[in-house]
């Protein structure tokens, strides 16, 4: 090394015609350049450095600056944009990392720094760390919330499968689905499941199936998965883009990636996680044998329920038929007959009562006529009256007999109509017949009562008007029209009215004494 450096200095100094300098005089740039060369030559092209991240500064340009340090030293580090883009996990201050790169000198600052091509977390793998970081971030965002998880359909009509077109996985799933439940139609969407572009294909497939669901006849559930492999093989299912596509899917998704022990971000976001693809196939469909058993159980329940129902109705009917009404239908008819009889009796009693009352009044009228010594006219009136009363009585007797006949007829009709349902009609007929009879009786009763009262009035008038004709008169007070029976009833100057056979005179009392004398005389 040393000779090289000497020769460089010698060649630098000799040919220039500048002011002479001592051989060991160097410019800053020269020294820095020499230091850079010395470092570059002294160190291997690639170094691995262990340290703790501090002063982590991702710049807007995309370059990343940080310091690696340990207990005693610090090392400036830079990661250029092109390398930073490939970072699978996110650096954080305090993180123990292994930085891989080469040492170079930043001439402008005269500072040596490590140009990092790759960082790896110390203790766990980079992918593992990336997984943890993404998981924590998405969890905080709520992508794994149980509330967001959609229930799987019980009896899917159409199932989509997003997986590799080759390999045992798709075959195993199809066999399982065929064995368990042939009712479901299957839609297979082949995608690459590992390597470059796998995540993009999975994302596109999930999106396309959601868009096409209707055109495909309605997809009820989707299985997204692949068989087992290394964490690198499964990595597509840990990509954030896949997680977001699964989260956004309207179709419920069962995630089935790798073996039982492999848990991917896709598993965590999915509505249901299946341990393996075969388990997913078992999970999305029921077993046709179980379904058949369910159908039979329901049919059996239905049969029993209907049978039970019929039995209930039958026994209810038997109970009804066993009632007295059905055993002795005439009892009800008899009861109605009795009610009719009672009504009839009351009606006849009332009619007789009215007739008796009429009779009494006629008899009284006749006795009045006899008492006032009727003239030939009055006698004739009495005879007329008697015959009228006789006619009335005869007529009302006839009506009563008629009514009784009608009632008897109705009664007979009622007895003849043995089926119970006719009783109502017979009863209605009877009721209206009774009403007609009652109305007829009342009307005629009123009519002859009015005629009787007129006759009575005339008879009473006759009784004293005849006397007036013979020269008697009746005197009444003008006020109150009270018949004057005694002189003591009157006072001087009182006005009286005297009724004569052909009129009435008004007079004033002049002398009561005479009247008293006259009265005492009589």
């Amino acid at each position: 090394m040393a000779p090289t450096r000497d020769s460089v200095a010698a060649t630098d100094d000799q040919p220039l015609g500048r002011p002479k300098r001592p051989n060991d005089l160097l410019t800053v740039a020269e020294l820095t350049s020499r230091v850079r060369e010395a470092i570059v030559h002294a160190l291997p092209a690639t170094v691995h450095v262990v340290g703790q991240v501090s002063n982590y500064k991702p710049h807007s340009s995309g370059h990343v600056y940080l310091t690696l340090k340990d207990d005693t030293s610090e090392l400036s580090c830079v990661m250029w944009r092109s390398a930073a883009k490939g970072m699978q996990f996110k650096l954080e201050d305090g993180m123990e990392v292994i930085a891989t790169g080469s040492v170079d000198v930043y001439q402008r600052a005269g500072r040596y720094q490590l140009q990092v091509r790759r960082f790896e977390p110390r203790g766990i793998g980079a992918l593992e760390l990336a997984f943890r970081q993404l998981r924590d971030r998405l969890a905080a965002e709520g992508l794994f919330d149980p509330d967001h998880k959609k229930p799987l359909p019980n009896y899917p009509e159409r199932i989509a499968i997003v997986t590799s077109r080759t390999g045992a996985v798709v075959r195993d799933m199809l066999i399982t689905l065929k064995r368990r439940y042939r009712l479901a139609q299957l839609v297979v969407m082949p995608v690459r499941v590992q390597g470059e572009g796998a995540a993009e294909e999975i994302v596109r497939a999930i999106g396309a199936l959601n868009r096409w669901s209707v055109q495909l006849g309605g997809i009820d559930v989707m299985i997204v998965g692949r068989g087992g492999g290394s964490i690198e093989d499964l990595w597509a299912f840990n990509e954030e883009s896949v997680a977001r596509a699964v989260y956004a899917s309207r179709i419920p998704i069962v995630s089935a990636v790798g073996h039982e022990t492999d848990v991917t971000i896709c598993d965590l976001v999915a509505d249901v996680r299946a341990a393996t693809p075969t388990a997913a196939a078992e999970l999305v469909v029921p077993d046709a044998n179980d379904v058949a058993a369910t159908v039979e159980a329901l049919a059996g329940r239905l049969r029993r329920a209907a049978g039970h129902r019929l039995e209930l109705e039958r026994s209810a009917l038997a109970g009804l038929l066993n009632r007295r009404w059905w055993r002795e239908p005439l009892t009800a008819v008899r009861q109605r007959e009795q009610a009719v009889d009672e009504t009839l009796t009351r009606l006849v009693q009332q009619a007789w009562l009215r007739l008796r009352e009429t009779d009494r009044r006629v008899t009284r009228a006749v006795s009045w006529v006899q008492r006032i010594q009727p003239t030939a006219f009055a006698a004739k009136r009495a005879v007329d009256l008697n015959s009228a009363v006789f006619r009335l009585r005869h007529a009302s007797d006839r009506r009563l007999r008629e009514a009784e006949r009608m009632l008897a007829g109705a009664d007979r009709a009622l007895h003849a109509a043995s089926p119970v349902h006719r009783v109502g009609r017979a009863r209605d007929g009877l009721t209206s017949a009774l009403q007609r009879v009652s109305v007829a009786l009342t009307t005629s009763h009123r009519r002859w009562q009015a005629s009787l009262e007129a006759t009575e009035g005339r008879l009473q008038a006759l009784s004293y008007k005849g006397v007036l004709g013979r020269g008697f008169s009746i005197t009444r007070t003008k006020t109150g029209r009270k018949v004057v029976r005694s002189a003591a009833d009157l006072s001087d100057d009182q006005v009286v009215l005297t009724e004569l056979s052909d009129g009435e005179v008004e007079s004033r009392i002049i002398n009561r004494k005479q009247l008293e004398l006259f009265g005492s005389d009589g």
């Binding site: 009509e157 065929k178 042939r182 139609q185 839609v187 058949a292 159908v295 129902r309």
Partner: protein
């Protein structure tokens, strides 16, 4: 879409609700008989759907642009045929 025939699940659910209704005696006798007949028909429909089901498998083309393209359709002869 609008006039689709009932799915298997719908038939099964209806059968169940009919059994419930008759069991609970919520309906009249005549209605019960009508429902019983309907339920029995549904049961028969479910039975034959299960017995006759033939799984149809459509494999879509990997390209997802525009309309879905069915690359091939397999029947129950075997999902592995052609692989």
């Amino acid at each position: 879409m609008a006039d689709k025939k009932p799915t298997f699940e719908e038939s099964l659910k209806k059968l169940e609700s009919i059994a419930d209704r008759i069991e609970q005696g919520q309906v009249g006798l005549e209605e019960s008989i009508k429902l019983y007949e309907e339920g029995m028909k549904l049961g028969q429909h479910c039975r034959s759907a299960l017995a006759k089901a033939e799984q149809k498998i459509q494999q879509l083309q990997a390209t997802d642009q525009g309309e879905p393209q069915v690359e091939r359709t397999l029947d129950t002869q075997g999902p592995t045929a052609g692989d």
